[in-house]
């Protein structure tokens, strides 16, 4: 009896069981159980994924981060996307993956004196970059109407957006909608007059008492959005463009919170992009159609700029206020502007080193 008990204990220690081949049966059952659980989980996951977006394939859900993919994996991912988009938008869609060119660091310069606030850049950007047209309406560029030279003492302390309930502003003849404050320190309003309006709708532009301030992603050389991304899905490419791998974005919106320029947009709903308006020339890290729950932003039209073309906003600007080029090339237009014109950067004190320069003739 004692000997038998010792034998059982010894067998248990060795991972088997006493007697006749019971160990193999247990192992078999274990394997079967694990496999069944795995299959059930996968099926549930696939159903969940299908419910979220039926067009997104299983492989797409589980693909690797773009930067960690091998060349083969990248090719396969591109092929999958092209197939899906072509089917979805009923046209031949090209998804480009052109990498950054050697010896190129993109920079942008905007002549703030020339801008007439027509917003053609905004709509050209929407069209070129396949932004959601409505519900949600997404625009990567915003143009802010600013007051020109009104530095009266009475208005010095204005400059903060105030709600309907604020008595001081309610009683004021200027009304209650002050738009958003572009300049200054939020905690120190003294002397702030740089107050802007986003939703201006004049009969015609430019208005005599206004100047216009277009703002988009500043492609910071030291981007805070990249620092905070918990999944490293947004990063700065060697040519200075800050890009997003939409498939890895988890929609936490930390990048949006930290961006001092309000340059990022979030797809709260499934983007609404009509098939006939879809631009089929896309880039994986740029203007390919996005999905609900991801963040997007200006990429200096990566699908164009990496092919040596100007961005859509530069091309469409009717007054030539927008300039784009290679900052590493001493002969480039943007470099010449930086060296010779009166230049300022937006919120330069944050040390984000924006590569978007505003200049005055």
């Amino acid at each position: 009896m004692v000997e038998e008990k010792e034998k059982i204990l010894k067998d248990k220690e060795e991972g088997g069981c006493s007697g006749c081949g019971e160990g193999s049966r247990r192992e078999f059952l274990k394997t079967i159980g694990a496999a069944a659980a795995g299959i059930a989980g996968a099926v549930a996951g696939a159903k969940e994924a299908e419910a979220y977006n039926p067009n997104i394939t299983w492989e797409e859900w589980f693909q690797n981060n773009w930067r960690l993919m091998t060349e083969e994996e990248k090719k396969e991912a591109i092929r999958r996307l092209e197939e899906r988009y072509s089917k979805e938008y009923k046209k031949k869609v090209k998804v480009d993956d052109t990498p950054a060119m050697d010896g190129v660091l993109f920079g942008y310069a905007l002549n703030i004196q020339k801008c007439i606030g027509c917003r053609r850049c905004v709509y050209a950007c929407v069209k070129e970059n396949n932004q959601s047209r409505s519900n949600p309406q997404i625009q990567w560029i915003r143009v802010i109407r600013m007051e020109k030279g009104k530095f009266s003492a009475e208005r010095m302390d204005l400059g903060y957006p105030k709600g309907e309930g604020d008595k001081i502003y309610k009683d004021h003849s200027y009304g209650v909608d002050y738009g958003i404050q572009v300049g200054g320190n939020a905690y120190n309003p003294v002397g702030v007059t740089l107050e802007g309006q986003h939703y201006y709708q004049p009969e015609r532009v430019p208005e005599p008492e206004a100047f216009y301030f277009p703002i988009q992603c500043q492609q910071c050389e030291k981007p805070p959005c990249v620092k905070v991304c918990p999944v490293r899905t947004t990063y700065r490419d060697p040519d200075g463009i800050v890009v997003i791998d939409y498939n890895w974005c988890i929609g936490c919106r930390m990048c949006m919170a930290v961006c001092p320029y309000w340059a990022r947009r979030f797809n709260w709903g499934e983007p609404n992009l009509p098939a006939e308006e879809m631009n089929p020339n896309t880039h994986y890290l740029g203007n390919r159609p996005r999905m609900q729950g991801v963040v997007e932003k200006c990429t200096f039209c990566i699908q164009r700029s990496r092919k040596g073309r100007y961005t859509a906003c530069v091309e469409v600007c009717p007054v030539g206020a927008r300039k784009f080029g290679n900052l590493l090339d001493p002969e480039s237009e943007v470099r010449k502007i930086l060296e010779t014109k009166r230049v300022f950067r937006l919120k330069a004190e944050f040390n984000t080193y924006p590569k978007f320069f505003y200049f005055i003739d």
Partner: protein, 104 residues
């Protein structure tokens, strides 16, 4: 009362004196700081006729150019100097050569 005093070994009159002194000190400090703040508010304030302090610069009334200049200096629309431009270009070039390791 005497019993209590004996127990704790504290002279109530001394306690009362200390209490009064502390309360007086607090009141004085409060009044002082409020007065100081008020004076500062008046100094930085909204007087149309008087000079106005923008940051560390005292701007004379009615001089819009000076006022604008002061605000531009105080706020972020500060034009880059030639030196800053050179430094920036140099930094961007160096950062590019170092594969972004200098600034990231």
């Amino acid at each position: 009362m005497d019993k209590e005093r004996g127990k704790k070994g504290v002279d109530p009159s001394r306690r009362a004196l200390l209490k009064g002194a502390i309360a007086g000190g607090v009141t004085l400090a409060t009044v002082g700081s409020v007065t100081g703040l008020a004076a500062k508010a008046v100094q930085e304030g909204k007087t149309v006729t008087g000079a106005r302090l923008v940051g560390s610069l005292l701007v004379p009334p009615g001089d819009d150019d000076a006022r604008q200049e002061a605000i531009m200096k105080k706020k972020e629309y500060v034009l880059m100097t030639d030196e800053e431009k050179k430094e920036l270009i140099d930094l961007l070039v160096r950062n590019y050569k170092a594969k972004g390791s200098i600034l990231l």
